[in-house]
Symmetry: D2
Subunit: 314 residues, 4 copies
């Protein structure tokens, strides 16, 4: 089994980009272990630690890209998450001082925080991780439910910051990118160029203070290729659900992202499972679920148990 | 046990309003059965039926208001949902012809549909309901998971259409307003003036085609009063979760509603359970859940199992 | 000329509503002078004054409703603004203490302000108004450019708070509702029931601190009726422009409101001026203007000088 | 005077990026003529022309980048627009077939158009440009009011598609980037790396059909450097106004962008003109203007005539 270590990787990447040089080449179907740094670039390891002032946009460092042989624009990459192990037995969380997460100004220049000169409690918290438990405090123990926060394939001509997100994936923070699930990503350049990082030991929907239990990790993935099948947005398949992902962005509210995710899900049901789109539309209205990643990411989910029916005609 | 029948009710209401005359008076703690009409005002009962052209804004007819003795502005009403029974053994769903649900123009005047002269398949579907099953089609059977789509207390000076929603409740379409859960609503006028209707036999998150399995129903509620305790937005308590509800609206995106719901949840945890707000903020980031009603309603949920810890200090 | 004085009016209204009893009846075509109170209900008259704590939702008190004889659902009301005079020779502005205007939480319960316990400078400022000048400070003199901040006809079944806005008009804060311009409003109930108040001596686009130079005023209007012509949203005609108004709201961002305003404008150009909608769409792209009222209101404007062309076919 | 011709340029760029190799080097203060291609990459030159199917993301080709000697991260670039001449005596406009502009799904994958299989009239229109006139049709003549649609400096680590926009500038489509005005852009990499293209012969606010009168052009700019002065977002100075620009994006609605633009404007008034931010906030409320570029770009404007006052204290 191949391993992409942080030492092989050398410099980590802060953009998901076709301009990054591959640090590993694999064949479709191979299983690899990828070492990832945490979202703080490893700067928060004990209680007094602070990020340096030049933090933004240097968050969510990415290992990779991994070049998948034979992958070309128009294909789909499948990423089977086999295992996620904490690298140093702990994770960390904090409340951002600029609070851009809450104040609607995702980026490097949070105007309102400057305008009001808001100051927030730092609140750095170091959480030991042992035997599938995350020690949040003396009295609160959380389950270890690890997930990959940022993962994506290179866009065709853009280099997208690893704190942003789009149809290529990126900083989705979806708890469903977890052990046992399979993630599908669009291939837009030769080799697909898979990047990943920003692993969380556990994270709630919304990730509302902006940082989950962030940890460096060893991630085991089986990466395969679906030739000649193009998807517009990421998809996920779990034991129980088909999930179509969409994210908010310029001209696209979260509400609109939910609509897009459901449209993608419905077109998937039509194309791969033969359910007419208008029937699927009515059916998803009754049994659809919505999963939220961070405040900009949604997955529309369809329970696979309803796929066994043969005809939907009323 | 008191019963508010459709015949006692007479005219149903299409706004949740302090101007509606109470059709039932109860004492705090009483259990009542309320008969509700379906969201289509009963116009869709067999496959060929269509709503008349003057449908909007006459959707989601409301039974009530129920006057709760002793309720005053600044109190909180608790509504324990004991049972929901289908009144006629079937429900109906359809795709709206104007498709305002999808096209961002909630209201009576969907500009884009007029501009493009969009026509959609009618897709009326009648679904028999029997023994906890909803027959969606010959081959697809859905579970009977009934919920109240529209429920709210009267605002202080506004009459709000029953297809809209706000801090008074209204057309939230939250699957968690279901049997076994307790809904809390702000009291803003004498008697609270509880309205309800728009019951669904089953509904997915997002309710994306705009109509769930709509049915007339017999709803059994235990209605009680918490004196001198004011809440800003609706809340729900289930066996497993505390949930704070918020909705999008003027100047308040869905994303912003999620933030508000979490802030309400955190302030609830601080006020009633003694968890400091900044600790609660970090904790909700890791274990919070988000439930979506229709595309404009969210509930931020906290698992009650974490309430047993005594101190959150790291 | 009829006059609707504050003393004839008696109690002012805080909702635009079919439930308010008319305080004046007129025939179509009549000119009336209407006395209006300021947005602060007259509570801010000298520098130390503060609004009482129960301010919300009691802002923007409305004079009226004025009942226009013969007006019925499906007609359009035209309101020609003839004059606006300051009633007491001064106006006032302030920065809201809860800052809901900035923090995305328009309404009575600004969660973020509570969460962060934000405190803002009060900044009450009294501005004398004399001879078409508004004295903002010792050194800054602003032009007197008066406008009606809140004006609307009653909705069919709703009572809408006078701090909110919708297709009925309401708290639009559009500087174009000014002397010399004609406002068109949809009629949805018998008598149209025109409400107005919240006059500003001068106001910029966006009205970003939430209060313009607020003043009580004497407003002279000629009110007429267009029978059998229905409009979906307010419209304005000035010497130079046709303007279609739309506002943001549930499921309708400001961006979406701009689209709707342009669609309404284009359909107006097609219906009344014979310009094919696709030609009008391309033409508005090149010469359209956008006017902003408060942060939730837009007008899409078409310069009337281009109406003289006879054919648009390329 | 230096000239950057299309032939010197060779390959045009479809991303604004630190990875693009400079095609011209200048000293601060130099005046240059830059040849730009139109937004359609020159594919629409006569009435029957269509863009090829692989258009997206290859729109808005950029000339440059121009490397400005001595420019470093933390400086500001000033770009004085001296002249804009049509290169071929005509421009073109069309209605996009996928209509992503209207349907909220800016990007390569407009889900709703696929879902509904919407088809729109092509509506390509070629407009001759002569003697400061743009011939829209036989009967409609528009003024020649040229502007630069897309212009920006390279981000630090991202390559941003030239159909997108951000704090680096990009596809802002602001009519105020025109002859006589000065644009300020943040410098984030050595040499600033200025890109431009997408010139319009005339464009309305909102640019609602998505294409203005697009033309190849010769653009004359004087480019200078302000050392050691950092700005967060683009700014513009005209004869009459100071303007601060912001754009919508992930987690930032258009309404939020307006707030940010005003906050930037207010902080500018405080920093450079000595007006206390709370006074400036109240003043901008009364005299601020808002300019809209495309549906995602706003400029908050302050009339310079009010800068002559010496003290704002009430």
């Amino acid at each position: 089994m191949k391993r992409l270590t942080l030492s092989m990787q050398g410099k980590l990447n802060y953009a998901i980009s076709p301009f990054n040089k591959p640090t590993l080449r694999i064949k479709p179907g191979e299983t690899v272990v990828v070492e990832t740094e945490d979202a703080f670039s490893g700067q928060i390891r004990s209680k007094g630690d602070r990020r340096d002032r030049k933090a933004m946009p240097f968050v969510n460092p990415q290992t990779g890209p991994i070049y998948v042989e034979g992958a070309e624009k128009g294909d789909t990459l499948s990423v089977d998450v086999k295992d996620i192990k904490p690298a140093i037995g702990q994770g960390a969380t904090k409340i951002p001082t600029s609070w851009y997460w809450y104040l609607g100004d995702l980026g490097e220049n949070p105007a309102l925080s400057r305008f009001l000169e808001l100051k927030f409690p730092h609140g750095t918290r170091i959480c030991p991780i042992e035997e599938n438990r995350v020690y949040f405090s003396d009295s609160i123990v959380l389950p270890y439910e690890p997930m990959i926060g940022t993962i994506g394939t290179a866009p065709e001509i853009e280099a997208i910051s690893s704190y942003l997100l789009g149809s290529h994936g990126g900083n989705m923070d979806l708890p469903d990118v977890c052990i046992g699930n399979k993630l599908f990503l669009p291939v837009r350049v030769d080799g697909a160029l898979l990047h990943l990082g920003d692993v969380h030991a556990v994270q709630g929907e919304g990730e509302i203070c902006g940082t989950a239990i962030e940890m460096p990790a060893d991630v085991t993935l089986t990466i395969d290729l679906i030739k000649g099948k193009a998807i517009s947005w990421p998809r996920i398949e779990s034991q129980e659900h088909l999930m179509a992902v969409a994210v908010s962005g310029t001209g696209r509210t979260l509400e609109e992202a939910i609509r897009i995710a459901f449209m993608e899900l419905i077109l998937w049901l039509e194309e791969d499972y033969g359910i007419d789109r208008w029937d699927a539309y009515q059916l998803c209205t009754q049994v659809g679920k919505v999963r939220l990643g961070n405040l900009w990411t949604v997955a529309a989910a369809f329970p696979k148990k309803y796929l066994s029916g043969t005809s939907l005609k009323p």
